[in-house]
Amino acid sequence: MTYLGGDYDVVVIGAGHAGSEAALATARLGCKTLLLTLNLDSVAMMPCNPSIGGTGKGHLVREIDALGGEMGKNIDATMIQSKMLNTGKGPAVHSLRAQADKKDYQFRMKEVIENQDNLLLKQQEATEILVENGEIIGVKVHTGAVYPCKAAIICSGTYLKGRIFIGEVQYDGGPNGLFPAMSLSDSLEENGIALQRFKTGTPARVDAKTLDYSKMVIQEGDAHIVPFSFETDRIDINQVPCYLTYTNLETHRIINENMERSPLYTGDVTGVGPRYCPSIETKVVRFKDKDRHQIFIEPEGLTTNEAYVQGMSSSLPEDVQIALYRTVPGMENVEFMRSAYAIEYDCIHPTRLKPSLESKDIKGLFFGGQINGTSGYEEAAAQGLIAGINAAQYLQREQPFIIDRSEAYIGVLIDDIITKGVDEPYRMMTSRSEYRLLLRQDNADLRLTPMGHEVGLISDERYEKFLAKKAAIENEMVRIAQVIVKPTNENNEILNSLNSSEIKHGVALSELIRRPEIKYLQTKNFDSDRPQLHWSVIEQVEVQLKYEGYIKKQLLQVEQFKKLENKYIPNGLDFSSIGGLRIEAIEKLQEIKPQSIGQASRISGVSPADLSVLLIALEQRRRKPENNKGENKND
């Protein structure tokens, strides 16, 4: 029995980190949106580690915030510890990470969603997508309701045909004890969307009162908390610590003795797992010479005893898990509250997506998050936001909103998965970016706020505030270039005390701040008329001065990069009709359908000679008079 449940502009399937961002974005951009979730209690759930951010990922959160997404504000409001990673290295790789109160995080996001205009949140399982003439026309749910819509965004996480492995115990299930979604996969396949099987896993949650922290090393948060969001002024909380302990040879012995009971090694798990989230058994088998592995105990929240045991993800049977956990110092008497498990799930081939995250096969159908073969809350949220923005652009018949590799980690993420495909769950790392020095977490707002404003997710009020910050940075750069420090004994003494060399004649203050050993704040005595500036302004001044030469070099590289990105390949070009391309290149080009020569150049199997041939073929087409009408840029 089916019935019409109501018309929507957009239906978002899944209310995890991707779906929440996607639905908020479409609703905020004026589209009537329905957000479907299997369980209202699992909105924005964190089924794995209780933290947001980290290397590369912290950058993504900052970028999501600058574009008008919710994740940054949500973690700022619900964090219980914060840490800036990599402070011993340069600013390009500083990375923010915060421990979240998981329940708090979920509740706040749910509240924001519930109170958003144009948005309805519903507990229903989407079972079918309805497609007509290659276009999405609706979504059907398990109760029989049909929601006609003009666009749909699938953010189904790890739920599609989810299967749980705890040693020999194996059953169909979603993450964290939730139900799987068993029907939607079939509907996708029936509509010509090919699926693949990926795998991931999570460690046990243990009862903190059964842990002996005195045998572990305490890991405190930072004294000064840097917020993720531009809109958060400051965060004053009592931080909760994490703890560090280690496995030992006894742990490894138990693992080795029970290896035949691990579904990863019996061949029961066929999905491809991520190399950066290896289970403890994988670590022990692959790195035999390591006699210990790090274990971090992370609290799951302020109102629960549940603690996350980072480094101990496993698909071994529960009895083995308990035995091996109890070999770890401080965990001798540990009691499990949830056991570790591996989960296998369906995901699509992201090479079937356009840069807008719209399907190449079905118009109006967008995908975001783990369904695209990625991993991580932040990666998911970033895609959800972009899919949401583009669904709105699509409905409003606007150009797709595309961020390139030189502009943001979000651009790197999307370009990587749609151009190269994924052969394991994709995790962001700073080393994936060619322009790491430009794509810093400290300048995400400077890079992306104008785009967020243009698209309509950044309010005028926030934009004004942003422009003021930008002006303050520029003014201060000009000002300190004009402040001349004289070679007086007094000044040289200060320089000596900073282990810096003396000056023999007058030097601009900006030149002194360029020196690696001198910090802006240490130069106050040279600078009597110094204005009061926000720390984030000072941070920019300092970074821009100290790394100017390197930044300029990368900007030149970006210029070259942009030239290739701007050489568009017309939509629907039949690559097999181009004489001179090698067969391998033709196959790859037909599959990926790159939108520019730049994107084509990143496809493995396309050689420089192929690109030359392609360039010539494009020029040939351009010169034919009948091709000259409106074909210089694609959709």
Binding site: Q560, G580, Q620
Partner: protein, 459 residues
């Protein structure tokens, strides 16, 4: 991706064949062509290429802007865009000095900011800039395909053996360093040892040394192709001319006979076991100044500076003269083969001739094979592909190796100024990318694979 896709940079190549023709043309195309040509050109009346009219020949000399030395007399011309073959600014340098100055000038042009053109690239630019019609496009594609494949073949041929092994070593060291740096950056909280600047510094210095070794080998390869400049020295009437004639007569593959840069010597090309030797015949000197004292030590010195190898000849039937003594003194630290000629004139006493002297009797045709094998042995010990394109491929490799070295030197400079590790990583990454330009392997994913292979990380 390589910049060759962009038409913004300036390219250069030898436009005529490298078969040893007397006149060669170097063509430069692109926005910086005139600037580059101008910087290397000197006209006796002070005319510059910048001010010269388009499509007019200008006489002058090419000079090395650093040493200020003349390289060759040339006729130079510029063709302003769009009235040129490629529709870009083009400079053409006509020089007559044969392959050596041609290469030297090309080297200077590249140093001044041009990039060595890929096969078919002038034609490609001509097409992309609208100089060729559609019908010609297909043939351009063929050229690119054919030439790319061909040059790849050469690359592969060249990459076999020791060179490729060395490149592999360089590559894996760089990947190893990068993976370690990147794991420190992306996984700061795992108990993985932090790679130290001291370690990177030492490893990079070692890499630079290896690259310099390779460049030296490449230099040998270069000499090898152009011919090893060899001078036959000795007092008058010791038999130098006869030796040269004997070598020439045996050698049917005389490549060319052109006046050298010094007008009073003759250059002859001979080929021994596939190795070209450019023999500077000092016969000219002897004929103009019949007395060896007049040639003078100064003159000999000058001549010696232009040679890779010296064959010194004396007449064993006569005692060593003061002039010969002086010359022998000059030759002490050079690659020299010593010939004791006219053993026929001393009967059985040739038993007394000891190494390094090679006994020879041109009349009896003795000792010539020994000389030839000595010549080959002293230069190199193998055979090399003699196709003209070999030179181009090789020059590209040299260029990329030099770029690799430069990036590594930048890495050291970055570390010296206490810049953070992610900046050093940029330099190391650039080095790897240049190195990979030789083999064409992509970089990105390798580093990440290496990280997961070498380090135990992950939650």
């Amino acid at each position: 991706m390589e910049v060759l896709l962009l038409n913004e940079d300036t390219i250069a190549a030898v436009a005529t064949g490298l078969g040893g023709a007397g006149i060669g043309i170097i063509r430069i195309s692109g926005a910086k062509a005139i600037e580059i040509g101008n910087a290397l050109f000197k006209n006796p009346k002070g005319k510059t290429l910048v001010d010269a009219a388009s499509h007019q020949l200008l006489y002058g000399k090419m000079i090395d802007p650093i040493t200020k030395k003349d390289i060759d007399e040339v006729l130079i011309s510029k063709m302003k865009a769009p009235h040129s073959y490629t529709a870009e600014d083009i400079v053409e340098i006509n020089c007559h000095g044969g392959i050596v100055p041609l290469r030297k000038i090309l080297g200077l042009v590249i140093k001044a900011g041009a990039r060595l053109a890929e096969p078919g690239e002038f034609t490609k630019r001509a097409f992309l800039n609208g100089r060729l019609d559609l019908a010609q496009a297909e043939s351009v594609i063929d050229i690119i395909n054919a030439k790319t494949e061909k040059s790849l073949e050469y690359s592969v041929a060249q990459l076999e053996g020791r060179l490729s092994q060395k490149l592999e070593e360089l590559d894996s060291t760089l990947v190893g360093i990068l993976a370690h740096m990147e794991v420190n950056i992306d996984y700061p909280e795992y108990d993985i040892e932090e790679i130290s600047y001291e370690f990177i510094h030492n490893a990079v210095l070692k890499l630079i040394k290896t690259i310099e070794g390779l460049l030296l080998v490449a230099e040998t390869g270069k000499i090898y192709r152009e011919g090893i400049t060899t001078a036959i020295l000795g007092e008058p009437n010791v038999g130098k001319s006869s030796l040269l004639n004997t070598l020439l007569m045996e050698n049917k593959a005389i490549v060319t006979e052109i006046p050298g840069t010094t007008r009073d010597t003759i250059e002859e090309y001979i080929n021994i076991e596939g190795i070209p030797f450019k023999i500077i015949d000092t016969a000219g000197i002897r004929e103009t100044d019949n007395v060896v004292e007049k040639i003078g030590v100064e003159r000999s010195k000058k001549l010696l500076n232009q040679t890779n190898l010296v064959v010194f000849m004396r007449d064993v039937s006569k005692p060593i003269s003061p002039g010969e003594q002086e010359l022998l003194e000059l030759l002490k630290n050079r690659k020299t083969i010593y010939i004791a000629n006219k053993t026929d004139a001393i009967g059985n006493d040739d038993q007394d001739i000891e190494p390094p002297w090679i006994p020879m009797s041109l009349i009896k045709e003795q000792g010539i094979d020994l000389l030839k094998s000595k010549m080959v042995e002293m230069v190199y010990d193998g055979t090399v592909n003699q196709d003209a394109d070999y030179l181009i491929t090789n020059a590209r490799h040299i260029h990329l190796l030099e770029e690799t070295r430069e990036s590594l030197e930048n890495a050291i400079a970055t570390m010296k100024t206490s810049m953070p590790i992610e900046l050093v990583s940029i330099d190391i990454m650039n080095a790897l990318e240049s190195l990979r330009g030789i083999t064409g392997k992509a970089v990105g994913i390798d580093i990440i694979n290496q990280i997961f292979k070498n380090f135990c990380i992950g939650k």
